[in-house]
């Protein structure tokens, strides 16, 4: 909790070096197919499949990290249980724009509960975890203090 200034420096460095956050639009995020998992409920259940569109994939980082994984991230983030969401996105990619979303926190964050709301404070950036489907995502928010 007392490492605020240190993390700020790290974040600023990361921001300069890496952050090129690209909000994918719905069509760009469209991925491949997904096997139906229900005989009785398949057809209509797939409508909301690509609901989570603002994924903020950090292209510079991911391209070097794992192209296949990155490609797969575009598929069906919320609906399925098995997607490796954010495994490639998390590499130091701290997008400090309020409202942007990541799927894995940078290292050295502290959980803070305030007013019945759960936050993760990572340096000077505050995240609010939430479920999107069965996945946990972290939304950058303003400091509650």
């Amino acid at each position: 909790m007392n490492h605020l200034s240190k993390h700020s420096v790290v974040l600023a460095t990361l921001a300069v070096l890496f952050v090129s956050v690209i909000p994918l639009d719905a069509s760009a995020g469209r991925g491949g197919g997904h096997a139906r998992t229900s005989v009785n409920r398949g057809g209509s259940a797939n409508i909301n499949r690509n609901a989570n569109v603002n994924r903020n994939a950090n292209v510079n980082v991911n391209r070097n990290a794992n192209v296949n994984v990155n490609r797969h991230v575009d598929v069906d983030v919320n609906h399925g249980w098995n997607h490796p969401v954010g495994t490639a996105v998390a590499i130091g990619a701290t997008a400090a724009v309020v409202g942007s979303i990541i799927y894995s926190l940078p290292p050295s964050c502290s959980m803070v509960q305030s007013g019945g709301v759960t936050y993760q404070r990572c340096g000077s950036t505050w995240y609010q975890p939430r479920y999107a489907g069965s996945s946990v995502q972290y939304v950058v928010v303003n400091s509650p203090y």
């Binding site: 909000p23 991925g31 491949g32 197919g33 997904h34 096997a35 139906r36 998992t37 229900s38 005989v39 009785n40 409920r41 398949g42 057809g43 259940a45 909301n48 609901a51 989570n52 569109v53 603002n54 903020n56 296949n68 490609r71 797969h72 575009d74 598929v75 069906d76 919320n78 609906h79 399925g80 249980w81 098995n82 997607h83 490796p84 495994t87 309020v98 409202g99 942007s100 979303i101 959980m111 509960q113 019945g116 709301v117 759960t118 609010q128 975890p129 939430r130 479920y131 999107a132 489907g133 069965s134 996945s135 946990v136 995502q137 939304v139 950058v140 928010v141």
Partner: protein
Amino acid sequence: MRLQPKRRIALILAGLALSGVVLAEDLGTVVTSTETPTIDPAAMQALNRMGAYLRGLKSFSLRADDAVDEVLDSGQKIQVTKTVELQVHKPDRLHADITTDRKAREIFFDGKHFTLLEPETRYFTTVAAPPTIREMLTAVETKYGIEFPLADLFQWGEDADAAADIQEAMLVGASKIDGQLANHYAFRQDEIDWQIWIAQGEAPLPLRYVITTKNEPGEPQYIANLTWDMQVKPADAVFTFTPSQDDHPIAIVVQDETPATQEGAAK
């Protein structure tokens, strides 16, 4: 098989048009290839019997090991697996432990509330839920985008089941699943082909099912193997989630609202 004259002609024409494999022999007999749509009434009966049995189950526990194909844009198929441990007391209590190769979740439903918990971080969300398992499954799927595992177990034998959509049905044969004798059936519908292995004997439980999605490139498949435990009656306490100090409440995104929410606007 006896067919009405009109039906027989239609079959012959359809067969000729498709592949010419229909053999029209003596009057009154039509021998068709397996490509001709047929519904074996015995297969439908077996499905109905299983459905009725499932519908009559009050309490059960089961473990399901499943695998889902995901097809990448390149056409490459990726298989991902998960294990679901389900405890059910119908019509309004359910608990699920879901462990995929990448994440774990727990689900609680007590007839009033639905809770999704990540056991590692202890993030949880609790929302109001409709009073029955079947309504709850539909609600969390449409409202929150959570594809509930093994939803079929609560649909077979109910009014809304897919029996009416079946275009072809056949018995593949007898087989053994984990040493248990089962009958293997195969069905065809518009968008999917599916197979099911139903236990022989007094308890016609589904032991395995496979769904092939035909309207997706690569025809990805889903397979679930089910291990039933009919002896253990789940205790009531497992269905209700009571947060401790170590549990952290978080929100869940509503999926079917306006696109603004889906764009990730801060809430």
